[in-house]
Amino acid sequence: MLKVLGAALVVVASGMIGLTISREYQQRPGQLRDLQAALQLLDTEIGYASTPLPDAVVKVGKCVGPPVAGLFSEVAQLLRTRKGYTATEAWQEALKKLQLNSALRPADLEILFTFGHTLGGTNKEEQRKSIQLAYQQLKQQQGQAEEERARNETLWRYAGFLVGMLLVILIY
């Protein structure tokens, strides 16, 4: 009886790990897409409307889904409440949080990190250039992420359970 319970636990646990990995593959392209949409909104706010950054990030935060929305609303909050914070510092702080609750890879975050260096600190043309650059890089990452998703999402959904069962058989 105890053995059966243990075996079930092993299968369920490794199955869950597999599902988590599979979910990351599934979510990453969507989050990259959200980031691109957010950057395009930011481009409009900065390039055409000259909206001050604290207001612009609030607007962007309202227009995209989580967790990308959280990145922008976090920046907005830091800029509003912490006197003497530059946009770059606020952006990097907010990125740390995004890293914890998103499916993004280090390479994706690196693009955002670099983008943060110029955020708010240069003139309009240079702002737009750096937004465009980050946008293009994220688009490339997204293509890659879609491919990986097609290859791995279904695989990992079942692989966890299968490995679990294999373990159970081996242990018996």
């Binding site: 000259s50 001050p52 950054l53 006197k83 003497g84 770059t88 708010g120």
Partner: protein, 343 residues
Amino acid sequence: MSIGLFTSSSQTIRSVKAKIFLSRFQEQVLSMLAPEIRQLVGQLPERVVDELEEIRLRQSRPLILRVGQHDLGLLPDGRLSPDLERSYRVSAEDMHKTLQLLSNSSVYALEEEFRNGYITVRGGHRIGLVGRVVMDKGRIKTLKHIAGLNFRIARQVIGAADPVMPFLLSPGEARPYHTLIISPPQCGKTTLLRDIIRQMSNGVPRLNFPGVNVAVVDERSEIAGCYEGVPQHDVGIRTDVLDNCPKAEGMVMVIRSMSPQIIATDEIGRAQDVSAIEDILSAGITLVTTVHGRSLAELEQRPALRSLLGQRIFERYVILSRRRGAGTVEAVIDAKSLKTLSG
């Protein structure tokens, strides 16, 4: 006994005022400086902050404070020193961060201000900028690589106009006199004008003056120190400010839009100003304005002004100097008889 009481209470008022200024300084000016410089300037004793006029940041060069009439360096350990070479050196990083902070992280939204060469921030403080100019079709488009910043700390002197007010209000008439303040730069011309505006707008009970609508055409955001359109200095309860507006056009515009009894503006002197002034006079509005100069005789040399003075438009001239500190009133002159009324 009564004298003792009086001095002690006025000292209290003074120290309360200084406290208010200090806390506003911390909120409005310190928060815009890069962290390293903020920390150094934040350590300055109260009496130094009280006399602080300018903070100058020049990239790769020493940080310089203008305190009263002196240039002082700020050593890396926070002490003040007249030896400027030993002062804290401003890094490129400091410049970049300061620029981000003072633009509210939106350097891109300040192209207009860069073109003008200064930014007016909350509190009416003005920050002058220099750097590399970017041209577009033969005109200045914006500044790039900002390498020099000058924080000019704004201080309103409530009551600065007290000594001259009795001469500017005509007894028995609702309309104050057309007034021209004549002053060399840095003598408190704008400070005096601001307080005249405030008093005329609020009314002066001790002179039985009830207060009238005043329109200010503030071409360089110096009089009212507007931030996002809202005056940061006290310019009175009946005062409307047209901020950042060319004087000649602005004066004609406010006559129609706000029906003021008084129009105030700073630094007239160009030919187009003169024709706008004629419009004001024909509408029965009082003009209060300023001009750069040391004396009436000097103004007569300048063609545009000569015609203004020749037409006897103004009724009062107020002449300022720095003889006993900024804002020394040399004389108030009746323009009709050219008699000196005070000074």
